[in-house]
Symmetry: C2
Subunit: 338 residues, 2 copies
DNA sequence: GAAATTAACTAAAACGTTTAAGTCACTTTG
DNA sequence: CAAAGTGACTTAAACGTTTTAGTTAATTTC
């Protein structure tokens, strides 16, 4: 079954040199004669030798792995992963993907497990506003993605949520809506705070009073089903109000699906009876009926930049903070108010 | 920035014992007195010690990592990843996720990189019918997922594609359809072969002749956009036929979306003008209008079972082959023929 | 033409574990 | 009461690399 892999020593014996020379050849250290290089390379090929990265990483204190900790394997983070993988190819890193399931305890455990693996760095989408005992983050360079934490100067690659939310809300306002329902995820993460802020800023800019009953948190629970259900309940709650909203803005993909489900169940038609703006673009939104206006996140790019930031952090201790612009894609789901 | 982590040696010094004793305590070897165990554990806590997995894996020849190689980061494989992660928690493994982008060359490279990392095993969704030089697979135990390869007795966890496809086709036939368009992915993978077979079996069972023009391969290209486009083109081609299909069966998620897009562009209504069955269930299919009848794959369960099969393979050299049943979920998208 | 430099190597230590093989002071056994 | 065990340790080797500090012979320098 599992054969013993050849080692440097085997190659050295085959090529009649010392293991140091083989190592030099492998690392292009330019200290061997052309003839020796050739002989060593032939031996490597003949034996099918490849490095043992465990040994290397023991020696160097660092593996060629980076850790990615996401709170959920949803399409948004999958696209981020895609970007991360693409950029990692350049640095010759592999990605260990772990799921914190929005649990702080699990997140901290995972940070521990990953740094035990001697990962070269960690890309983290934190589950809350704060990071636990700093001890852990001393072990591996860390870059935050999508979400920020308070009081720490860490590199973070995120979206400009305030602006994205502002633009979406403004669009609804321009279409004449005065009562706009906002469906947010958990209040414990920075994206929620920012998306709420953008909404409030937009209302303020038109001198419309913020009605807290129109702001619902649908993401207090974890897991796909629960988040969808959060969006569903949020709509149900809002529509029971004496003066229900004429438009709804759902600030993530799962909340959006739950919300649309509720709207459908209530036999309200989009955009005729209800205007709707969602978050996170996905192909199906282009083919659904109606097609959905959404705030699109540059998830792939975020992934790429996070890897880049990690590398920067490692090579020059430089802390990078980027807010990438969000794009409002107008489709059919928001009309003018009746 | 990066602090040196304490080692066994530091703990040993702190607790006034040898490193062997510390190691024994760490591994619950039951060779130390209760008092010593306590002292060692205190030292571990005090110093914030945790194992260096690189050293362990150098010694043991095996890391606590497993590799997952997918051809694409799509929702299907993401759900598989979810299942893999859940099951890995039990075995205390972490998952390195790599993307072969449906390229055989890349796939083989990745197998090499992962086994260089001394992964405990590899879960692979192969990009073609054959596996390259066997040399590679001797290095790490391997379990195939979703797709099979020829002439190799490897563990494989897959879906019963023939039956799933048979059931879907049969349903369309029962509804009176005689010309059913089939949209397949790349002919180079086993799922395509099987889904085609199920379709043919169903037609044969009703004595309906197979028309090759109704079988389109939409997945010869790689990448999300390209696959969707493949589905789109497939529909466009079929609808140009003198006698176009009255129903379409798209055999994966991306092809389905492309196909629906084309149908929409052609101003055909589902299910009034065209019946439709898709593949892979996703929440949006429940809220779209119409809702879609689909063949659902137990992706999460496949992930779990793959990890389990890997463990079985390692512990007892037992090769497991499983075909999990597919479920046809009937919704609104397929009606009776006019 | 002796001293210094260079090219092409090699020997050995080190990274942090695990483990086989001791050691030593006490029991236990027959 | 000598032999054999046992409990609680320790020593040192080994895993496969990288790297520092040599070594040796050939070549350059003045």
């Amino acid at each position: 079954m599992k054969k013993k892999r050849p080692t440097l020593y085997d190659v050295a014996k085959e090529a009649n040199v010392s293991i140091a020379t083989v190592s030099n050849v492998l690392n292009n250290k330019d200290e061997a004669s052309a003839e020796t290089v050739k002989r060593v390379n032939e031996a490597i090929k003949y034996l099918g030798y490849s490095r043992n990265e465990s040994a290397r990483s023991l020696k160097s204190g660092e593996s060629k792995l980076i850790g990615l900790i996401v709170p959920d394997n949803n399409p948004f983070f999958t696209e981020i992963l895609d970007g991360i993988q693409e950029e990692c190819e350049y640095y010759d890193w592999q990605v260990v993907v772990a799921n914190s399931e929005e649990s702080e305890k699990k997140q901290n455990q995972l940070i521990g497990l990953l740094s035990a693996q001697q990962v070269s760095g960690i890309i983290l989408a934190p589950v809350s506003h704060t990071l636990g005992p700093l001890k852990m983050i001393e072990n591996a360079p860390m870059v935050l993605i999508d979400r920020e934490v308070e009081n720490m100067k860490l590199s973070v690659i995120k979206a400009d949520n305030i602006d994205g939310s502002f633009k979406a809300t403004k669009t609804l306002l321009k279409n004449g809506h005065k009562r706009i329902g906002l469906i947010l995820a958990s209040p414990g993460i920075s994206t929620t705070v920012e998306r709420r802020q953008g909404y409030i800023d937009a209302l303020n800019s038109q001198n419309i009073k913020v009605d807290d009953e129109l702001i619902q948190f649908g993401g207090n629970y974890t897991g796909t089903k629960a988040q969808m259900n959060g969006g569903y309940q949020a709509v149900m709650n809002m529509m029971k109000l004496p003066s229900p909203p004429t438009a709804i803005f759902a600030t993530n993909h799962l909340l959006m699906m739950g919300a649309v489900k509720a709207i459908k169940e209530l036999k309200l038609r989009i955009p005729t009876d209800m205007s709707f703006i969602g978050f996170d673009d996905h192909p199906w939104q282009e083919i659904s009926d109606p097609t959905f206006t959404i705030v699109a996140q540059p998830a792939f790019e975020m992934g790429r930049q996070a890897v880049h930031a990690l590398h920067k952090l490692k090579s020059s201790e430089e802390v990078i903070s980027t807010s990438l612009p969000l794009q409002l894609i107008i489709r059919e789901s928001c009309g003018t108010v009746k």
